[in-house]
């Protein structure tokens, strides 16, 4: 009576690889047709792209084993039928892609800055990093160190910013823009929500103005108009002028993101802070802002991704960032016509940075969700 019958195995076609295929690729005949079509395209495309980028590509030597020094020696120029990408252009110009025209004997300073940037940023990103408190002290003084290290001064030979280029300019613009826009954005966000009508109106106007015009017009503003506004004697170089424009731009977007965070803080928090006698600034700095910023970090990272991509716009006003160096390489007559290699490489570098940032923002969102749930339980 109490015999337990052996449970029957599910039908073969619903489990395992076969079941998965049936569920996900061939559930209806329309789906099957689409799957077959996509598979066909992929089978055409993937081997071709792998072949072009890796198997048939030249890295330093062409198929004759000669070291490539100009475009005529690339396999794809010698043999257009079978030759793949000619990465030699990247290999030859790698120094420029990384450092621009930074003097070779001083390049250790850039390398050191890159390493210190990693040491400064990684502990900032992960709050379970060992000895995070001590590392964060370094994060605060890092901008000062990096400024003197890259720019010169304090006994180091000065390197003019018009020699900077490539990844160096991209990172300087991205990191400085984000770091300076953060405090400015907080002030603007607080200002916009202020009870003082004049301050609130001015902040609102500023934010909406910046968000209503394209970044390129602000870069033009920095390049063409800023020198006219400044008195004689104050001479800013190109990078600094662009940085002003980029920072103003980013601070407006940052302000809106932080305002979103501020709005999510319940009124009770403000009232509680006021009722224990905190002043306006104490209330904001100790109670409201820490919570507001915490919940807006994913959005802050997302606008930062936007800024990082937008730094490419500086090539229009004549700065040589990663893309600018790439275009310069293409204009070189010995390497003409290798546009796809250069753009592929530059895209890849940007992709690595922005994809990592977007993954990080997803990770934060997930962590934040669980954190808030735990608080509610």
């Amino acid at each position: 009576m109490n015999d337990i019958t052996e449970s029957r195995k599910p039908p073969v076609a619903t489990t395992g690889i076969l079941g998965w295929l049936r569920m996900n690729l061939f559930s209806t005949w329309v789906n099957s047709l689409i799957s077959l079509f996509v598979l066909y395209i992929l089978f055409q495309f993937i081997p071709w792209i792998l072949n072009w980028t890796i198997f048939a590509a030249d890295f330093k030597y062409n198929f004759n084993g000669e070291e490539i020094v100009n475009r005529e020696m690339c396999s794809r120029v010698l043999d257009p039928e079978n030759g793949g990408a000619c990465w030699a252009i990247i290999y030859v110009r790698f120094y420029q892609f990384m450092y621009g025209f930074y003097p070779r004997e001083e390049v250790w300073r850039v390398n050191l800055s890159y390493i210190m940037l990693a040491v400064a940023v990684v502990p900032l990103l992960f709050d379970n990093f060992p000895f995070r408190k001590h590392f964060l002290k370094f994060t605060y003084i890092f901008p000062v160190i990096a400024f003197f290290l890259l720019n010169g001064g304090l006994g180091l030979e000065s390197v003019s910013t018009n020699k900077w280029g490539g990844l160096l300019v991209t990172l300087v613009l991205g990191c400085t823009g984000i770091a300076l826009a953060f405090p400015l954005g907080i002030i603007l966000a607080l200002g916009r929500r202020s009870n003082l009508p004049v301050i609130s109106m001015m902040c609102t106007l500023f934010i909406e103005f910046i968000r209503g015009v394209p970044l390129i017009t602000l870069l033009f503003f920095g390049m063409v108009m800023l020198p006219l506004f400044l008195p004689e004697g104050i001479d800013m170089d190109g990078l600094a002028r662009v940085l002003v424009a980029v920072t103003l731009f980013q601070s407006a977007y940052m302000a809106e993101v932080i305002r979103g965070g501020l709005q999510a803080i319940p009124q009770g928090q403000y009232e509680a802070a006021r009722s224990i006698g905190l002043s306006y600034w104490q209330m904001n700095l100790k109670v409201v802002l820490p919570q507001a910023i915490r919940i807006s970090i994913p959005s802050i990272v997302n606008t930062s991704i936007g800024l990082f991509k937008d730094t490419t716009l500086v090539i229009i006003v004549g700065l040589l960032d990663l893309l600018g160096i790439g275009r310069g390489a293409l204009a070189d007559t010995t390497w003409l016509g290798l546009a796809y290699e250069v753009y592929f490489f530059v895209s890849l570098v940007f992709f690595i940075f922005t994809f990592a940032m977007s993954r990080y923002s997803l990770y934060l969102e997930k962590k934040l969700k669980t954190g808030i749930n735990m608080g509610a339980d």
Binding site: L25, T217, P227, L313, T354
Partner: protein, 387 residues
Amino acid sequence: MRSNLNFFSDEKFRSIFFQTLVIGLFALGIYFVVQTTGYNLEKRNIATGWRFLSDPAGFDISFSPFINFKSTDTHLDVYFVGVLNTLLVSFCGCIAATILGFLVGIIRLSSNWLLVRVAYIYVEFTRNVPLLLQIILWYSILIQLPRVKQSLEFLDIFFISNRGIYSPRPVFETGFSYVFIAIILAFISSFIIRRWAKKRQDETGKQFPVLSSAFGLIIILPLLLFFIIGSPMSFDYPALKGFNFKGGMVIRPEFIAMFLALTIYTAAFISETVRSGILSVTKGQREASASLGLKKSWIMRLIIIPQALRVIVPPLTSQYLNLTKNSSLGIAVGYADLVHGFGGISLNQTGQAIECMVIVMATYLTISLTISVFMNIYNRSIQFKEK
């Protein structure tokens, strides 16, 4: 009593004090900037004022589909050509990006694993590579098309080469205006029919074939009229003469590159908002409508999409704004938009940076504001109406 003794702890006084201080500092800053700017302009011999707008531009614009621009035209004409080109590429881009974005967003929620993966890879790759790079890449692909002499032909009327796509240009003859009026009337009447049909359905439950009647009105009626009047339209075909095509209509590679890059880039973002919008509609809604016996396509059209739109439209608005602002990157490939034509070439020729940039910025602000106003009106019309 203390507040009477110490002005500073009085909140009202403090607020007025700080605001006056800010206004004062701001005015001082403005005064200072105006003074130095005036001095700098004078020292560099830069003219001021708006007189340059009526000076002849002295350069040609390769792409001006609406205004027949000549190099003797004024800088003001350059401005209008620029605005129209900006609006053209933004408008085409917004429409195409919306269609592609909705398509990709729906595909990412489909049950076909392979299709979902391909759409995901597309979204991640286009979102994470700078738009400017994509524009330049498309442009460099387009200018590697065959030269004019070897251009690809389709039906002997379309020619694709590295100078762009040449196609026949419609020439409207007398009488076509009647057809045009008929089209407008058809649109208005189908709109009225839609409202009447909706009202009737609300009252009596009877349905009216709105879509097919609108189709008949908008397409078939003007077409009939067109042939009755005697086809008052002919085509101007492009023909290869010398080194280039004569006649016809041309879409330049700069425009195509801008259009493709803006569409593909923005569609990736739109697809994400569409996806999250559809996901925001709870599962119960779908199950409830299915249990009422609605068809699958009706569930999407009548239940899911209207609710998803409430979530989708606000971020969609900001995507439209982004696309419009991003169209300013045309300068990188020489697309004669507002920034390249007026803010670039005119600015360099006249040297009147402040005036040119003020006009360009004011125009972008106006465009952005107009888009937000219209999208806000649309957004209000689709929001949930609580009774």
